[in-house]
Amino acid sequence: MDHPLQGQDQTLLQQGHSGFAADWSSDQRAFKKVSWGKAMMWILLLSDTFIFACFLVAYLTARSSTNAEWPNASEVFALHIGGRDLPLILIAIMTFVLISSSGTMAMAVNCAYRKARKATAALMFATAALGACFVGMQAFEWSKLISEGVRPWGNPWGAEQFGASFFMITGFHGTHVTIGVIFLIIVALKVWRGEFDRDQRSWMSAGNGDYEAVEIMGLYWHFVDLVWVFIFAFFYLW
C-alpha cells in the first residue's frame, strides 16, 4: 500500500544501497521523503539518545564504583498489597501503561495518514491521558520512596548513589514524558480544531494540509517510551 505522504514527492526513488548513495549524492535533500520538521526531530532524538546514554553509563559507573552495598531493587520497589509484598508491581503497571500509550500513539499516526480528524485527536488525547497517568504513578512512587527515607544524599538500605541516580534518571525521563503530554494536548487540540486541514501556514504546520505534526509527535513519544525500556532494564531489573 502506498504511503499517503508519498504523494508530495515527485522524485523517483531508488531502493536499497544504491538508493541510499543516490540520495546522499543528489541535490536539495539527502533524505528524500523527509520534511524539515521530521529531520529535525530525528536529529534531536539522536542527540537526546546520547544524553540518556550518558546518564545511564554514569549511573552504572556510580553503581560499580561505590563501596557500599546497592539496595535490592525488587524489595525497594515492592508494594504491600493484600497482605504480601509484590515486587516491582507498580513499575510493571507503569511500564504497561506507557507501552500502551505508544500503541494508541501509533494508532493516532495511522489515523493521521488517513486524515481521520476526530479519531486522530481522540487517540492523541488517550495517549496524553495514559502519559499523565504514568507521570502520576511516578509521583506516587517518588513520594512513597521519600516517605521511606530515600533522599538524593542517602537512603536506609545502602549506597547513597541509589537515591541520587533514581531521582536524577527517572526525573529526567519524567520531565520528557510531561513535556510530551503537554505537546500531545496542544497538537491534539490543533487537530481537533482542524488547523492541519487548512492550507495555511501556522505554528507546527507547513500549511500543506497534512497531519505531519502528529507523526513528528509520535516519533518523540515512541522515543520516550523506548528510553523507559532501558531505564526499566538497567535500573529496576538489575
Binding site: R29, W36, S47, A62, S65, E160, Q161, M168
Partner: protein
C-alpha cells in the same frame, strides 16, 4: 560529484521543496533585536562572542602579568589567578570559539552557501541566540557574586571544583558556571538542529553534498559532532550541580576537609573526567573542523586554484570527526585510569594524524604552483597552516603515553594546545573576517591596519608560545600561581617568562587595532562590490551586497558545478561561479 562537467538546465531535477520566502519582519525590534534572519543572528552571535572574548583576553593579560612579573601586582592573589585561568579557558573554548564558528559563521554562511533563503527554523534559530546570550550573562554574573567565579580550572575536575578550598567552590561561582554551560548547550542545540537540517534538506537545485564548499562541510560535521558531544557535558554538569546543591556523591569520594569528614562518599571523580573529555576531545575538533573547511576555501580563492583532492578533504573531515569520539582518554593518562586504556587511546590518537596530515598536504598542494595573492585572508590562512602543523607535531609527543607522563601538566601542554586550538583557529577566524567582511558590510577592511594586525599577531603568537614549550620542558608546571626557584627546574626561566608576558601584552593590544578597523571600515572602507575576491561560491553571487532578507531576490540560484572552478582553461574569466551554466566544450557558449 566533483565533476566540472556542466549539466543542462533541463537536467536539473525539479524543485522538491516549495520556494517560500520567510516572512519579513516589519517592526524595528523584529528586524534588529529579535531578528529571525540568520545573517543578523550571525552578527549578534559574533558580536557577543567577541565581547566576551575580550574579557578572556584581558584575563590572559592578568595571568601573564603574574607569571612574568611575580609579586609586582599585589591585586592578583592566588585565588584570583585561578579564577583568571579558569574563566579564560572556558570563555575561549566554549563562549568564543564554538559560538563564533557555529553560531557566527555557521549562521551567516550556511544558508548563503547552500542557496537557501534562511535557516529552516528561523524562530528556533533566534531563540538559540537569546539563550546563548543568557548563558553569557550568567557567566559574567559569576564575576560579581560573593567569592567570585569558579577557580577550578576549565576542566572543572571534581572533587576540588565543589570544595571550599577552590575559589567559588563553596560559594556560587561553580553553580553559575554549571548553569551557564547547561544554558549554552540548550541554546546551541537549537541552533545546531537548524544548521544540520539546513545543510541536509534545504539545498538549492543542483547543490549536491559533494558540491558543497568545504566551509559548509566543516561547519556541518562540527555541528553533528557537537550535537553528539555536548550531551556528555550536559550530563556531567547536571550531576556535578547535584553534587554541589543536593549533596549527592556522583563524583565525590569520601573526603576530609580541614580535619572534618564531609558527608560525601563513594563517588567516582574519574567518571566526571570521562564524561568531560568525551565532550572535551570532540570539542577540539568542533573548533578545528570549521577552521579546516574555511581555510581550504580561503586558500583556493586567494591562490586561484581548485582545492587539491576535494573528495579526500571531505572524507578527511568526516573521518576526523568520527575518530575524535574514541580518543578522549588521551587527556587522562595521568588520571589513574587503567593503564591498558592508554595503549588503546594512544593508538587511536595517532591514527587521527593520518587524515589530518592528508588535509595539510592538500592545502600545500593547493598552493603549489597557484597564483598566490598575499591578501590578508591568505596571510592568515598561511599563518594557520604554520601554527597548526607546529601544534600538531607537539600533539604527537603528548599523544604517546610514555612521553606524555613527564610532560603532562607542564607549560609544554599549555603551549601545545594554544598553538593547535588557540592560535590556529583564531588565525582562521581573522582570515575569514577579512574575507567575508566585504560581503557582510559592502566595504573592504583597511589593508594597512590589517597588515599590522597580521604580522604582530603572527610573530607575537610565536614569541609567546614557542618559548613556552621550552619553559615546559625544563619542568615548569601549569596552573601554578608562582613557582619561585625550585630545584627540579633544569634552567632558570624568569627572563623567558617576562619576555613571553611582554609579547602577550603586545599581541593583545594589536587586537584592539583590529576591532577599531572593523568599526572604522564600516564607514571609511573601500567599496567592495558584490564579489571583490572573484570567488565562485554562492554567497558571492547574491543580487545585493549585503544580502537582503531572503538572500536571493525573486529566484533561487541553480547550481551547475562545484565551488572550485578557478583558472579553468578556456573559461571567459579566471573563475566560474557555481551558478554559472558555462560549458567548456561549447567554446564558452552560454546555455
Amino acid at each position: 560529484m566533483t565533476d566540472i562537467l556542466p549539466e543542462h538546465d533541463s537536467n536539473l531535477p525539479p524543485r522538491e521543496v516549495a520556494d517560500v520566502m520567510p516572512p519579513h519582519a516589519h517592526s524595528w525590534i523584529g528586524k534588529y533585536v529579535f531578528s529571525q534572519d540568520a545573517k543578523y543572528i550571525a552578527i549578534q552571535y559574533s558580536g557577543t562572542a567577541a565581547a566576551i572574548g575580550l574579557v578572556a583576553l584581558v584575563l590572559s593579560w592578568l595571568m601573564r602579568l603574574q607569571l612574568g612579573f611575580p609579586g609586582l601586582f599585589d591585586f592578583i592573589t592566588p585565588e584570583a589567578y585561578y579564577q583568571f585561568v579558569t574563566m579564560h579557558g572556558m570563555i575561549m573554548v566554549i563562549y568564543l570559539l564554538t559560538a563564533i564558528f557555529l553560531g557566527g559563521f555557521g549562521n551567516y554562511l550556511i544558508p548563503l552557501m547552500v542557496g537557501a533563503r534562511d535557516m529552516v527554523f528561523p524562530f528556533v534559530n533566534m531563540l538559540s541566540y537569546w539563550i546563548y546570550l543568557l548563558a553569557v550573562l550568567v557567566l559574567v554574573a559569576s564575576f560579581f557574586v560573593p567569592g567570585g567565579p569558579t577557580g577550578a580550572g576549565w576542566t572543572l575536575s571534581p572533587p576540588q571544583a565543589v570544595l571550599s578550598g577552590t575559589p567559588g567552590g563553596a560559594q556560587s561561582g561553580i553553580i553559575l558556571m554549571l548553569v551557564s554551560l547547561i544554558l549554552f548547550i540548550i541554546g546551541f542545540t537549537m541552533g545546531g538542529l537548524n544548521y544540520a537540517v539546513t545543510v541536509l534538506q534545504a539545498r538549492t537545485r543542483g547543490m549536491t553534498m559533494m558540491r558543497l564548499p568545504l566551509t559548509v562541510w566543516g561547519i556541518f560535521t562540527a555541528t553533528v559532532m557537537a550535537l553528539l558531544a555536548f550531551p556528555a557535558l550536559f550530563v556531567a554538569c547536571v550531576m556535578m550541580l547535584f553534587d554541589r546543591l543536593l549533596g549527592t556523591s556522583f563524583f565525590m569520594p569520601t573526603l576530609v576537609e580541614l580535619g572534618e569528614k564531609l558527608s560525601y562518599g563513594g563517588g567516582s571523580p574519574i567518571a566526571f573526567q570521562h564524561l568531560f573529555w568525551f565532550f572535551g576531545h570532540p570539542e577540539v575538533y568542533i573548533v578545528a573542523l570549521p577552521a579546516f573547511g574555511i581555510v581550504s576555501d580561503l586558500i583556493a580563492v586567494h591562490a586561484r586554484k581548485n582545492v587539491f583532492g576535494y573528495r579526500m578533504m571531505v572524507w578527511a573531515i568526516v573521518i576526523i570527526g568520527a575518530l575524535s569520539f574514541i580518543v578522549w582518554a588521551h587527556h587522562m593518562y595521568v588520571s589513574g585510569m587503567h593503564p591498558w586504556f592508554g595503549f588503546f587511546f594512544a593508538t587511536t590518537t595517532l591514527i587521527i594524524a593520518i587524515p589530518t596530515a592528508i588535509k595539510v598536504y592538500n592545502w600545500i598542494l593547493t598552493l603549489w604552483k597557484g597564483d598566490i595573492h598575499l591578501t590578508l585572508p591568505m596571510l592568515f590562512a598561511l599563518g594557520f597552516i604554520v601554527t597548526f602543523v607546529n601544534g600538531g607535531l607537539t600533539g604527537l609527543f603528548l599523544g604517546n603515553v610514555v612521553v606524555d607522563v613527564p610532560l603532562s601538566d607542564t607549560m609544554f601542554v599549555v603551549a601545545h594546545f594554544h598553538m593547535v586550538m588557540g592560535v590556529a583557529p583564531i588565525m582562521v577566524i581573522f582570515g575569514a573576517i577579512y574575507h567575508w567582511y566585504p560581503k557582510i558590510t559592502g566595504r573592504m577592511l583597511n589593508e594597512a591596519m590589517g597588515q599590522i594586525h597580521f604580522w604582530v599577531t603572527f610573530i607575537g603568537a610565536y614569541a609567546v608560545f614557542f618559548p613556552m614549550h621550552y619553559v615546559g620542558l625544563v619542568g615548569v608546571p601549569r596552573r601554578y600561581f608562582e613557582i619561585g626557584e625550585p630545584a627540579f627546574l633544569t634552567a632558570p626561566v624568569d627572563g623567558l617568562n617576562a619576555f613571553i608576558s611582554s609579547a602577550a601584552l603586545i599581541v593583545g593590544a594589536v587586537q584592539v587595532l583590529f576591532l577599531f578597523n572593523i568599526f572604522w571600515s564600516l564607514r571609511h572602507g573601500l567599496a567592495a562590490g558584490g564579489n571583490p575576491w572573484r570567488a565562485t561560491s554562492l554567497e558571492w553571487q547574491t543580487p545585493e551586497t549585503p544580502p537582503r532578507h531572503g538572500n536571493w531576490g525573486d529566484d533561487l540560484p541553480n547550481v551547475y558545478r562545484w565551488a572550485y572552478d578557478y583558472s579553468v582553461p578556456g573559461a571567459p574569466k579566471d573563475y566560474v561561479a557555481q551558478n554559472d551554466p558555462w560549458v567548456p566544450d561549447s567554446g564558452g557558449r552560454r546555455l
